[in-house]
């Protein structure tokens, strides 16, 4: 048992130094300022802002969300203020010392590259997270992240457009996550984020219609956590890239599971809705876990899972 205060929580994720391994997930943390009444953002390793597109986007008509067993579905359609308003208005509103990772999203590859370019000279942006779970217009609406060749083209284009640390957020809606991870590594990504939400359907049985206006949505929350752990573990075995793990993290114990599977850092997502200070609690809990188990550095937990012994 060591003293919790002495535990070294620092990690480096894809070249981004973090004071601790806990970030918050894109789409669940707005532009950060929404959480100012509830938590000091500087207690977090960092946060990933809501995905940005070239132009502002309005999003889908309601209903946009539905509750599911231990989870929720959403189909917001990436409503956001657009990259320029983010740089001009949202970033300056954040306190100094907050690590900001900007997420980007588009429907065509050259537009993705343009968003990356516009974020690249911005002092407050520490890195980029490429959201590859968007339907690609030119590939007939299949997600960029579902086809290795399309994903390769996308990562290559964005890699050329920026020198910022580049994380690629992978879709779980694939047969072989290892293959997608290898594509990202080959095309020069600096790290991986996984998993995004799991494609899902909820039905209003009285009306015999989908609950969501969009029909399909993305399932998030504790329901997907074991799937996410499995995929992080598989991606870890496939590549050397650092991994940011996420999917249903609700407590420090959940976060530690991702670290054990080989994630260097984690993101807290849907739990931010339930408890806007949840991520800070996860930081404290990881520190306590390390102290309780005699780890003086959190990095020693990374990949410490022993799969031989059930």
């Amino acid at each position: 048992m060591s003293d919790a205060e002495d535990v070294d929580l620092r990690v480096e994720l894809a070249g981004i130094p973090l004071r601790n391994p806990v970030l918050t997930a894109s789409g669940t943390f707005g532009y950060g300022t929404e959480f100012a009444p509830f938590l000091d953002l500087r207690r977090l390793g960092g946060f990933v802002a809501k995905s940005l597109t070239l132009e502002p986007r309005r999003g889908n008509p309601p209903p946009r969300i539905a509750e599911a067993p231990s989870g929720m579905l959403n189909a917001i359609s990436l409503e956001n203020v657009g990259v320029d308003a983010f740089v001009r208005e949202k970033l300056p509103a954040l306190p100094e010392g907050v690590v900001v990772v900007a997420s980007l999203f588009e429907t065509e590859i050259d537009r993705y590259a343009e968003v990356a370019k516009r974020l690249s000279g911005v002092a407050r942006v520490s890195g980029l997270e490429l959201n590859a779970s968007c339907p690609h217009v030119k590939s007939g609406g299949i997600e960029f992240g579902q086809n290795p060749a399309v994903l390769a083209t996308l990562v290559r284009a964005v890699r050329r457009a920026t020198t910022l640390p580049l994380l690629v957020k992978l879709s779980p809606n694939v047969t072989d996550i290892g293959e997608m991870a290898r594509v990202c590594e080959a095309e020069g990504a600096d790290g991986l984020s996984l998993i995004n939400s799991v494609q899902a359907l909820e039905i209003d049985v009285e009306r015999r219609r989908p609950v969501l206006s969009n029909g399909l949505g993305g399932l998030s929350g504790p329901a997907i956590r074991p799937i996410a752990l499995r995929m992080v573990w598989q991606a870890r075995r496939a590549v050397k890239l650092p991994i940011c793990g996420m999917g249903g993290i609700a407590s420090a114990e959940d976060a530690v599971k991702f670290l054990l599977c080989g994630a260097t850092a984690v993101q807290v997502g849907t739990q931010n809705y339930l408890d806007p200070a949840a991520a800070a609690g996860v930081v404290d809990g990881i520190r306590a876990y390390c102290a309780r188990h005699g780890f003086s550095r959190v990095v020693d937990l990374v990949g410490a899972l022993d799969m031989r012994r059930p």
């Binding site: 669940t28 943390f29 707005g30 929404e34 959480f35 009444p37 509830f38 938590l39 309005r58 999003g59 889908n60 008509p61 309601p62 209903p63 946009r64 969300i65 509750e67 599911a68 067993p69 231990s70 989870g71 929720m72 959403n74 917001i76 409503e79 206006s213 929350g221 504790p222 329901a223 609700a250 407590s251 420090a252 114990e253 849907t270 739990q271 931010n272 809705y273 339930l274 408890d275 806007p276 200070a277 609690g281 809990g285």
Partner: protein
């Protein structure tokens, strides 16, 4: 408007009223006060290593009223048990923890000289404090119209009676007050005198009808919307309400109270 807090509250008391209505008093440390129409997100159960995951989401609830008791702040919530989230709340015991985030949203704001409050179902919980403050500031200037399917479903009637406001009730089965809809009462009121500002909260169909009646009489109408939401503070973007001018507003951040004429009611969930 008071800044919201995130805090562990404790159940002070819980009691059933009528067939399916519940009154919950929560002891809320550092409660900053609230404006009529504001709400809180409630999440019963412990935090820590194994937080509740099913049902997952907190539930938005109007703040009914507040008080100081034994030197501590308490808020009262009126709710009906109609799903898994409200069943969890109804199963609470005194001393149990309930996560509170709030007060949230923009309330009714400064009320008009003459206020006509129209509420149905659990919407009644949103307008009580509005009636109380209007009556306290300018006695005799508020009229309250309450509606429900049947008398036993009506919440808080005795509280409104205690305020001394002018009160009319409509029930669909005629078991209490007039037989019919609360919107029938509104039509009659505005036919007599259309100079009041209408404040409405209840089922979407009821509020939409209130908006139509008020518009036809040239009376201003504010409506407090109740769209499902996951967070309550402008992040999940789940509670979008379609606007007549195009685009969407967030019920939690831009509302829950809106100018009823600005809402594209046909597109409401």
């Amino acid at each position: 408007m008071p800044a919201p807090i995130r805090v562990d509250a404790q159940v002070a008391s819980l009691s059933q009223e009528g067939t399916a209505s519940w009154r919950l008093w929560l002891r809320v440390p550092a409660w900053p006060g609230f404006e009529p129409g504001q709400f809180v997100m409630l999440s019963p159960g412990p935090r820590g290593a194994a937080p509740r995951s099913d049902p997952l989401l907190p539930r938005p609830m109007a703040v009914y009223r507040e008080r100081r008791a034994n030197g501590e702040s308490e808020i009262e919530i009126l709710f009906k048990r109609h799903g898994r989230g409200t069943a969890l709340l109804a199963a609470c015991a005194p001393g149990d923890r309930v996560g509170v985030v709030g007060p949230l949203g923009r309330g009714f704001g400064q009320t008009s000289e003459r206020a006509l409050l129209v509420a149905g179902g659990t919407g009644i919980a949103s307008v009580y404090e509005l009636a109380a403050r209007q009556e306290g500031r300018a006695p005799g200037t508020a009229r309250v119209l309450l509606g429900a399917r049947t008398g036993a479903d009506l919440m808080g009637v005795s509280d409104f009676e205690a305020l001394g406001v002018a009160l009319e009730i409509a029930t669909e089965d005629g078991s209490l007050g007039r037989r019919g809809l609360v919107t029938d009462l509104l039509e009659a009121e505005l036919a007599r005198d259309a100079s009041a500002h209408v404040y409405a909260c209840g089922p979407t169909a009821m509020m939409r009808r209130c908006a139509e009646i008020a518009a036809s009489r040239g009376a201003p109408c504010s409506a407090s919307l109740e769209n499902p939401m996951a967070c309550g503070f402008g992040v999940c973007l789940g509670c979008a309400a379609p606007l007549r001018a195009g685009g969407f507003a967030l019920v939690c951040r831009d509302g829950p109270v809106f100018d009823a004429a600005a809402i594209a009611w046909e597109g409401m969930p």
